[in-house]
C-alpha cells in the first residue's frame, strides 16, 4: 500500500468566486487562465513519481525560491500537464535550477531570454511530444504544457514578474511556452542526447536560454555547401548583423528536408558546425561602429591584445560563431517544406547561461 501523501502548501479556500479568476487575482498566472490546482489533481500528478513531495529539486532564480516536488506538481497542474508528463517536468526543473543554466540571468536581463526545452529519447512517443509538423507551434498538449510549467515556475517560485524584476525590453511569444521534441526518426544524424553521451534508449531534456525563433527559408539549395551558406549567412544577422563574434551559443533547428540535403552529401553535424564556424566571417572593415550602423561591439570583446597575437587589421576576418561548440544542432519539424529555424542565445558560458541536459528518470 502506498503511503498517503501529505501536502504542505497553504490551502486557498474558494467560496463564491470563480477559481480561475481567483488565481488571476493572486498574480500566479502567465496571463492565460490556469487549471485550478486542487489537492486531488496535485496528488494525481505526484502519484506517477516515487518521490517525497518535500524533496527539494533546487532553487529557481531570480529570487531563488524553493522548488520542491510538491510545488512543481502544483505548477504543472496549473499549466495543464497530464500526470504522465511529470517525470519530464521534474528533469526540466532540475536543469532550470542548475546554476550553470543561470535562470537568474535569463529573467533579470533586458534581453528576453526564455528556456527552450528540447526532449529526446523514447519518452517522446510515450507521452506524445510533437517533433513533426508545427514542432515549434501550437496544438500539442505535451509541448504546450511542459514548456508552460517552466514559465509558471519562474513566475511563482523564481519570483520573476514582468515590469517588476523581469525587465525584458521586448519579450516574445515563446516565453509562454517553448518546448520541442527532436525529430530523431527523420534525422540522418545522432540525436542531441547521444551527442551528449547518453544512450539512444535514454530520454533527456535539454534547456537552452533562447530568444524567439527565426525561420530560415531555403527552397533552392541542392548541395550541402549551398544550403550551409544560405543558412549561415541568414544566421549572421542574429543579435545584430555587426555582432561578430556572438557572445552566445546558438541553436539551429534543421527541418527534415534540409537535413536530407546535408545527408546526401554525407555531411555530419560536425561538418556543418565546422563549415559555419570557418565560412561565416566578416573582415574588420565591415564591423567598425558606424559602418552600416552604429553597432560594432562584438570585436572588442575577444582577447586580441596579448603578446602572441597581432592586433587586427581591416582585412582580419572575424567569425560569427565564437567556437565550434557554440552551435547546437537538432532536427525538428515536418517532412514537407524547407524551413529551418535559428534560436539566438543569451551570453554563453559562466558569463551567461550554459546549455544544460538532464536524464528523465522513469
Amino acid at each position: 500500500m502506498p503511503q498517503p501523501v501529505s501536502l504542505r502548501s497553504q490551502r486557498i479556500q474558494t467560496h463564491e468566486e470563480d477559481p480561475v479568476e481567483l488565481m488571476y487575482a493572486r498574480g500566479v498566472t502567465d496571463g492565460l487562465p490556469v487549471v485550478p490546482p486542487t489537492e486531488e489533481r496535485v496528488k494525481r500528478m505526484l502519484a506517477v513519481v516515487d518521490r517525497d513531495p518535500q524533496e527539494l529539486l533546487g532553487t529557481v532564480g531570480p529570487n531563488y525560491g524553493r522548488a520542491t516536488v510538491e510545488k512543481v506538481a502544483i505548477n504543472a497542474v496549473m499549466a495543464g500537464c497530464h500526470p504522465s508528463y511529470f517525470p519530464v517536468v521534474i528533469a526540466a526543473t532540475s536543469a532550470l535550477c542548475d546554476e550553470k543554466f543561470n535562470t537568474h540571468a535569463l529573467n533579470v536581463t533586458t534581453f528576453s531570454a526564455t528556456p527552450l526545452t528540447i526532449i529526446n529519447g523514447p519518452i517522446r512517443q510515450a507521452i506524445g511530444v510533437n517533433c513533426g509538423h508545427n514542432a515549434l507551434g501550437h496544438g500539442f498538449r505535451a509541448n504546450a504544457t511542459i514548456g508552460r510549467t517552466l514559465r509558471l515556475l519562474i513566475i511563482n517560485i523564481g519570483g520573476a514578474k514582468p515590469q517588476e524584476i523581469t525587465k525584458a525590453t521586448m519579450g516574445h511569444p515563446a516565453q509562454y511556452t517553448f518546448c520541442v521534441g527532436e525529430n530523431e526518426e527523420e534525422s540522418p544524424w545522432e540525436p542531441l542526447h547521444v551527442e551528449k553521451g547518453f544512450r539512444p534508449e535514454q530520454s533527456t531534456v535539454t534547456l537552452f536560454g533562447g530568444h524567439s525563433p527565426f525561420q530560415i527559408n531555403d527552397h533552392a539549395s541542392r548541395t550541402a555547401e549551398q544550403l550551409a551558406l544560405s543558412i549561415g549567412w541568414t544566421m549572421a544577422s542574429v543579435w545584430n548583423h555587426k555582432n561578430f563574434p556572438l557572445f552566445s551559443d546558438t541553436t539551429l533547428i534543421i527541418c527534415p528536408e534540409h537535413a536530407k540535403t546535408f545527408a546526401q552529401d554525407r555531411w555530419s553535424k560536425n561538418d556543418l558546425r565546422q563549415f559555419l564556424f570557418e565560412k561565416i566571417r566578416k573582415p574588420l572593415r565591415e564591423l567598425h561602429p558606424g559602418v552600416n550602423g552604429g553597432e560594432g561591439a562584438g570585436v572588442s570583446m575577444i582577447p586580441l591584445k596579448n603578446s602572441q597575437t597581432e592586433p587586427p587589421v581591416d582585412d582580419t576576418l572575424f567569425p560569427k560563431f565564437p567556437a565550434l561548440d557554440s552551435i547546437m544542432i537538432i532536427v525538428a519539424g515536418g517532412t514537407a517544406g524547407r524551413f529551418s529555424a535559428v534560436v539566438p542565445g543569451l551570453a554563453r558560458g559562466d558569463f551567461g547561461s550554459r546549455i544544460t541536459t538532464r536524464e528523465i528518470q522513469p
Partner: protein
C-alpha cells in the same frame, strides 16, 4: 462550498525593505562603486570616481566588480561593500 486550491508559490516572505537613510554629505565618506561588468562600463566608472573625488570631496572609492551582469555579486564583494562603505553605487553602462 467552493474548491480548495494549493498555493503555487514558495511563500518566501522577503518583506518590504526600507531604504537606508540618505547621507548629509559625501565629503570625507567612502563610496563603493559596483561595476556590474557590462562592456566599457569601466570608462563610465572612472569618470564617476573622478567626479566623486574632485567635486564632492569623497575620501575613498572602493571599486568592485561582478563576475557577470547576469550573476549576483559574490558574498565576499557584498560583505566588503557593506562593511567598508558609507554608500554604494551599483553602476552599469553598455
Amino acid at each position: 462550498m467552493g474548491e480548495v486550491l494549493l498555493d503555487p508559490t514558495d511563500r518566501v516572505d522577503r518583506g518590504e525593505k526600507a531604504f537606508a537613510p540618505r547621507l548629509d554629505t559625501l565629503a570625507g565618506k567612502t563610496v563603493g562603486l559596483l561595476d556590474i561588468n557590462k562592456s566599457k562600463g569601466v570608462y563610465f566608472l572612472d569618470r564617476l570616481e573622478e567626479v566623486l573625488r574632485t567635486q564632492y570631496g569623497v575620501a575613498e572609492v572602493l571599486r568592485r566588480k561582478k563576475v557577470s551582469p547576469g550573476r549576483m555579486m559574490s558574498v565576499q564583494v557584498k560583505t566588503e561593500l557593506v562593511e567598508q562603505c558609507d554608500a554604494v553605487i551599483e553602476a552599469l553602462s553598455d
